[in-house]
Amino acid sequence: MMKAMKNSIKIFLGATLMILFSCSEDLLQRDPISSFSAQGFYQTSSDAQAGVYGIYDAVQATFSINFAYWGEGRADAVNTNQAGDPFLLQQNTLNSILASARWNNIYETISRANYAIKYVPTVFEGDSEFGIQLVAQARALRALSYFYAVRVWGDVPLILEPYESIQQDIFPTRTSKELVLNQIEADLLFASANCRANFGGQRDRILITKGGADAMLTHLYMWKKDYASAIQSAERVMNNNLYSLVTINDWSRIFTQGYTNESIFEIGYNEVQRNSLRILYALGSDSNFFPSVSFRNAFEEGDLRRDLIYDVTETQPRKIWKYFGQGFSDESPEPSDKNIVMFRLADIILLKAEAHHQLGETIEALQLLNIIRTRAGLPNLDIQGAIDLYGDVESAILHERLIELSFEGHRWFDLVRTGKAIEVMNPINGLNDEANLLWPIHEDALNRNPSLVQNSFYQ
């Protein structure tokens, strides 16, 4: 018995050793289970779809609070009592440790888009329409990111390939903004041509469609002062039967409920994927921004939007009601689940009005302006009326944008685009240097990347 046991042990030992030696490589190969290895993703069309939704996820994070810091914080519609970004932006004392000087989320979005743009086509055989539509969305979101980056920091590193190895140049330099703008145009033209016209239902508002690409193109051309192209793309938006202006009775719902027919692209949020709208606008004395005196005084008599935009019951209004509805008074500093409307039809109509005016087509400009004024319960303006009230037609349109698009993150870029930023802000905070119109690059970015040079004003 002993001997048998001895032998069996020998056999067991020998066998185990052989097994262990022969398949040690397999024993030690462990692939991820709940995630993909870098090489293991982008195998199927559902991977491709998921990769693109992942870009939207980064977009949610990017604009959660920064749509207002970037688009409103430095402009005249808001005022603040809040230390940190709101105060420093409003006082025009920007520094390189501002939260809004970080571009981390923008580049994370770009990185995800670059992965999708490179790998989505590898999933599909030949020219799959679905694949091209996905790439078109990815390129549109990349363009959106770069468009903000260029407007906030000027020259920025232009990265069009995903980072997959430490051997790549991980210390990119800044690319001139003209080149970046050209890339944005190329991406948006591709998106305009290849995005889906519609998805059906609510998805038409929260995913990038052809209309969304056209709306972005309109903004891009206005920024580049290419007014004829802006008019063309705006026309495509206005002719798109997905979009129509809501009535003034439903105007509030554009923001409080979302998914209205006026919306072209809004970033979707929900109970778990939340943003900072409440903290930005709705906490009363503690919110980041409240309506400035000049903004409150800018309303024309009889403007039906006023009661919908801010708390008119207070002599010193502190709450912006626009996103939460008239009478909203909950002061809890919690995140919000409302969508953030990025582009809507009224915005594009007013941009088109501005473009016509720039090309001397004032009649067309006023026609478009009056569409928006009429809805707000205001009388039509003719040229003389515009001059009497606002000095000139351009100012009348800009004023209309100030009210109609208030707190939606357009005001600062409107001021910069039309060259009025210094004129408007100098009396408020002393802004007087063109170079100061850009943000500083965040200290952390400079520390991490020695190839970056700070914007001249902040050196």
């Binding site: 024993l27 462990r30 009592n81 571009w103 990185s111 190895s165 979707g268 809890s332």
Partner: protein, 1033 residues
């Protein structure tokens, strides 16, 4: 060979001695079974000199030969073939060895004195046991006796102050709360600094983290699952010679926990019960309601706020603001604890068993926090035949931890709310309901009483082995080990604590962590001639780790009374179902040789292959060697009769660290980056296929001395530990889309000295006094960091620390606080806050303008402290008088700084925070001379929030950590009652602390990795007094 019945020997060996010792004896005996000549025979009886009881299994050897036998159950032995010149050597574990000449005697009765020195003890080493006196490595050990003197319910706490070179700090004073254990300094940047824990040979998983608020709650104690009463000994392997046999997981040392096993003979029944109470060890000052209101008004005024609004908190007539609370009084309580522990240990000829069970129930000092634990263990060994022994150790632990939320600065934190919640907030609303939510703050009493934050775990640690003695000195052992942890966690926050109507939230997580291993070891032990002892070991093992987690988060529960997720109106499923795995294949070996136990030599090697590393770098090789010289046996010293033993030892070797993410080298795409309901995925880890081990090379020199029959024992060790190829998450430009990439960079050095002195100061018939003292000093230094990871010459390591060449890990970096400007004019140089910021005025802090450029910015930061102690240790004094015994254990740490984040929190008003009573001395008007700056709403100049020397405090302390007073019933009474033991004891923990630190307790650590020495405001420590009874049958 004929004289010794081998069967009987094996039976004796197996049946009498505890398992770990048996192994070694087997080596010795099997190695010594060679034939010899014969003369006459001798017999006799071996007894205990103290009790007169027979010593069953005492070893009787003919000196200089391999001839020997052992005493039977009545202590009798007989030995044939001895000559008159032979010297008999009588030995037994725990007794002094005695040598007597045979002469012309035919009967030789011997009484052995119980050993007071620990020199003859055996210690557990990697894959074996070793006689303590023959150690060549550096090993600290803590015995069951020492454990019994404490009231700690986990093995890590026991080590605090008792093992030289082992630094233990508390992350949390919560029942079952986390500890940080650090052996010979931090040797890793982010690959983990926790040692490897091995329980009865099973390497166990210690990364058992809570998946809900895990880090924010300062962790759980993964070893709280082991009942300390079950522990026979804890050994801490420190130098490379001791640890290298564990290779790639041994760079931070190895802690070996050995549980008690059965002995053949009459069953020993033990019942231990205790009950006790705990109170918070210290309370901190806060402002009362009127002092608080005045501070808030100051903060508004100082902010020059154009706000006309009077903050609601000032309205003392408002129903929600008319309170006046010290919230500590509302939340702290006198907490009780109870423990029952029952065991039966014994065995027959072929079977030995140790069976134990315990129930522990401890309330925390914060309302409603509680920890309950049931442990149960069975260790059995069977002798199947002369050659085969099989056995199993199984332990099962069920723990339910009702936790208090300590979550950082969030509004869920009970612990921070204790100190910073406005005293004015009312507890109840006029309608009698709880004031659950006010100004972004949840009511902490409501959180403690009404919310759920519970962690339930089940753990099985099991090991099954078979050991086959193939031939003389040669045996094979194979074991299968399993460590299985299943954890379920629930959280729930009821509607009343939320600001929204009908809005309640709940989460559930369920996780399984299973580690299994197969280990196969061949050992050989042989004595050649009379002087050459040779040993060898070869083995291989395969280990596999799997972790799975599933869970749900829900909102809008139908009722606050249904807290399971089926009651949720909305389910949000986010990153809660994941699985990861990891495997390791290892080959290891050891050879040892000694000549007359005078010249000792040992060498180890281990090869580890890990799935975590890239294909090309999978295997790492970890060799070590040690030599020892017992100089006391050399001629020069052999006449020095004041010295019993003297030994020098040296060791060197290499160990590794593989503690990185399971898939880091491959790169990762994470799923769950969803957009609304659309499933998304995105790149999350940038691949680096070149990743490999972190390796530590360690040199150790030591000396062990024993004087005057072990009245004075000194162990001294000096070491240098160099760690290279540090695994580090190197920050890279965010333009890449990634935050960092894990790389092997740089090196760290630890060097230190450890001294252990134990003395028997006084020994009379009735009275004895012994002292154990240990002190350790470790110097940690970052030796090199690659240029490309440095900014301004250093790496910012979290908010408070930097990593810089030439400086230790735990270096605090920030602004130097030089007091407060008494008036605007005091700022004569017009120093400004940042290049374009406002000029500092009266009441603002005076920051040291390091570079003298006239403004305070990032470049004015400097080193403001260091979290590592100059030295630390403990001293234990044991006094016995007749049947009374008293042990006083002091533990100390000297020269370490604490960054008191909690003091920042409780001195920073922000909006409505309450302040410490120090704020009564705040700057109020021009000309005030004080060290307390003016409170400013929102702190726009970061007066309080910037990392600053004001929050760095001396963390040195001495603690009367443990007092243990025991009365044992005299044996006369015991005999009459037919019981073997009846002891009553009082044990007090954390009785007195001498320190200058102003927080709750200087024994504090942050919860994560390298954030050493930061007091983040964890669950406070408590002072505990228990009464206990030990009964033995």
């Amino acid at each position: 060979m004929s004289q010794i019945n081998i069967n009987a020997l094996f039976k004796f060996a197996g049946s009498q001695l505890v398992f770990r010792i048996r192994l070694l004896l087997l080596f010795i005996f099997i190695g010594s079974l060679s034939a010899s000549a014969q003369e006459s025979s001798i017999k006799g009886r071996v007894t205990d000199s103290k009790t007169g009881e027979p010593i069953f299994g005492a070893i009787v050897m003919v000196k200089g030969t391999s001839k020997g036998t052992s005493a039977d159950i009545d202590g009798f032995y007989s030995l044939g073939n001895v000559s008159e010149q032979d010297i008999l050597r009588f030995s037994y574990l725990g007794f002094e060895t005695k040598e007597l000449r045979v002469g012309n005697l035919s009967e030789l009765n011997v009484s052995l004195e119980s050993s007071t020195s620990d020199l003859n003890e055996f210690v557990v080493v990697g894959y074996g046991v070793q006689e303590k006196r023959n150690l060549t490595g550096s090993i600290a050990s803590v015995s069951s006796k020492e454990i019994a003197q404490t009231n700690f319910q986990d093995p890590i706490s026991v080590l605090q102050g008792r093992a030289p070179g082992v630094q233990v700090t508390s992350n949390s004073g919560a029942p079952g709360g986390g500890m940080t254990i650090n052996i010979r300094g931090n040797s890793s940047l982010n690959a983990g600094n926790s040692p490897l824990f091995v329980v009865d040979g099973v390497p166990i998983e210690t990364n058992v983290t809570s998946s809900l608020n895990g880090t924010e709650n300062f962790g759980l104690n993964p070893l709280a699952d082991i009942n300390p009463t079950d522990i026979e000994s804890i050994e801490v392997l420190k130098d490379a010679a001791s640890t290298a046999i564990y290779g790639s997981r041994a760079a931070n040392g190895v802690v070996m926990i050995t549980t008690k096993r059965g002995k053949s003979g009459k069953p020993q029944v033990d019942l231990n019960i205790h009950s006790g109470i705990s109170t918070v060890s210290r309370r901190l000052s806060v402002l009362n309601a009127s002092q608080y209101r005045s501070a808030v008004i100051d903060s508004y005024r100082n902010a020059n706020s154009n706000e006309a609004i009077i903050p609601a908190v000032l309205d003392s007539l408002s129903a929600v603001n008319n309170g006046d609370f010290d919230w500590q009084s509302e939340l702290f309580r006198v907490a009780r604890q109870n423990n029952v522990d029952f065991s039966i240990r014994g065995g027959s000829d072929n079977v030995r068993y140790a069976w134990s069970s315990s129930f522990f129930d401890q309330d925390g000092i914060i309302l409603n926090s509680n920890y309950k634990r049931i442990t149960s263990r069975l260790n059995v060994d069977f002798d199947v035949s002369d050659r085969l022994t099989i056995g199993q150790s199984v332990s099962y632990t069920n723990a339910v931890n009702n936790r208090s939320n300590a979550a950082g600065s969030g509004n869920l934190s009970i612990v921070r709310e204790l100190l910073i919640r406005p005293p004015t907030f009312a507890m109840y609303l006029p309608d009698g309901s709880l004031n659950g939510y006010q100004l972004g703050r949840r009511n902490p009493v409501g959180l403690a009483e009404l919310s759920t934050n519970i962690n339930k775990s089940n753990r099985v640690i099991a090991s099954q082995y078979a050991e086959y003695r193939i031939a003389e000195g040669l045996k094979f052992r194979s074991s299968i080990n399993v460590d299985f942890v299943s954890m379920k966690e629930d959280t729930f926050i009821p509607t009343i604590l939320d600001f929204r109507e009908g809005y309640n939230t709940g989460s559930v997580r369920s996780s399984n962590n299973i580690t299994w291993a197969n280990e196969n070891i061949l050992t050989y032990q042989k004595q050649f001639g009379t002087s050459h002892n040779f040993g060898a070991l070869a083995g291989f093992s395969y280990q596999d780790w799997k972790y799975e987690r599933a869970g749900l988060d829900g909102l809008f529960f139908t009722s606050d009374n249904i807290r399971t997720l089926n009651g949720a109106g909305t389910i949000s499923n986010q990153d809660v179902n994941i699985a990861t795995e990891h495997s390791m294949l290892s080959y290891f070996g050891r050879v040892s040789y000694d000549y007359e136990r005078k010249y000792l030599f040992e060498a180890n090697i281990r090869a580890d292959g890990s799935s975590r590393f890239g294909r090309d770098n999978r295997f790492g090789y970890f060799p070590s060697a040690a030599v020892g010289w017992r100089f006391s046996d050399e001629g020069v010293f052999s006449n020095a009769n004041f010295m019993d033993d003297g030994k020098l030892r040296f060791s060197a070797g290499k160990t590794g660290n593989e503690a990185i993410g399971n898939y880091t080298s491959q790169g990762e795409f994470m799923v769950g980056t969803n957009y609304l309901d659309f499933s998304g995925a995105s790149p999350s880890v940038m691949p680096n296929s070149g990743l490999t081990w972190e390796t530590t090379t360690q040199y150790n020199a030591g000396v062990d001395l024993s004087f005057w029959q072990s009245k004075l024992i000194i162990n001294f060790d000096a070491y240098i530990k160099n760690t290279n190829d540090l695994l580090y998450n190197v920050p890279i430009p965010r333009e890449t889309g990634f935050d960092f990439i894990t790389q092997n960079i740089g090196s760290i050095q630890n060097k230190g000295l450890e001294l252990l002195i134990s003395t028997r100061n006084l020994e009379t018939k009735d009275f004895s006094w012994t002292t154990n003292f240990n002190i350790s000093s470790n110097r940690n230094m970052v030796k090199s960091l690659p240029e490309n990871v440095l900014t301004n010459g250093f790496i910012q390591n979290g908010a408070y620390h930097i990593l810089k060449e030439g400086y230790p890990i735990g270096t605090f970096f920030g602004w130097r606080f030089d007091g407060v400007y008494a008036s605007d004019e005091d700022n004569v140089n017009g120093i400004t806050n940042g290049a374009q910021g406002p000029v500092y005025r009266g009441g603002d802090p005076i920051w040291h303008d390091l570079n003298g450029d006239g403004y305070i910015d990032q470049n004015d930061r400097q080193i403001i402290g260091n979290a590592t102690p100059d030295f630390f240790g403990g001293i234990n004094n044991d006094f016995t008088y007749k049947n009374f015994s008293l042990s006083l254990f002091f533990q100390f740490s000297y020269g370490n700084d604490i960054y008191s984040e909690i003091n920042h929190q409780r001195n920073s008003i922000v909006r409505y925070n309450n302040l410490s009573a120090d704020a009564l001395n705040r700057w109020r008007q021009q000309g005030d001379i004080t060290n307390y700056p003016k409170p400013v709403r929102d702190d726009p100049l970061q007066s309080m929030s910037r990392v600053q020397s004001r929050w760095v405090e001396d963390g040195s302390y001495i603690k009367l950590k443990n007092v243990h007073f025991r009365y044992s019933l005299p044996s006369a009474i015991l005999n009459r009652w037919k019981i073997s033991k009846l002891d009553a004891h009082i044990t007090a923990t954390n009785l007195i602390t001498w320190t200058n630190y102003t927080g709750y307790d200087p024994d504090v650590n942050s919860f994560s990795g390298l954030r050493v020495g930061v007091d983040e405001g964890s669950y406070p420590q408590s002072r505990t007094i228990i009464l206990g009874l030990n009964i033995g049958l």
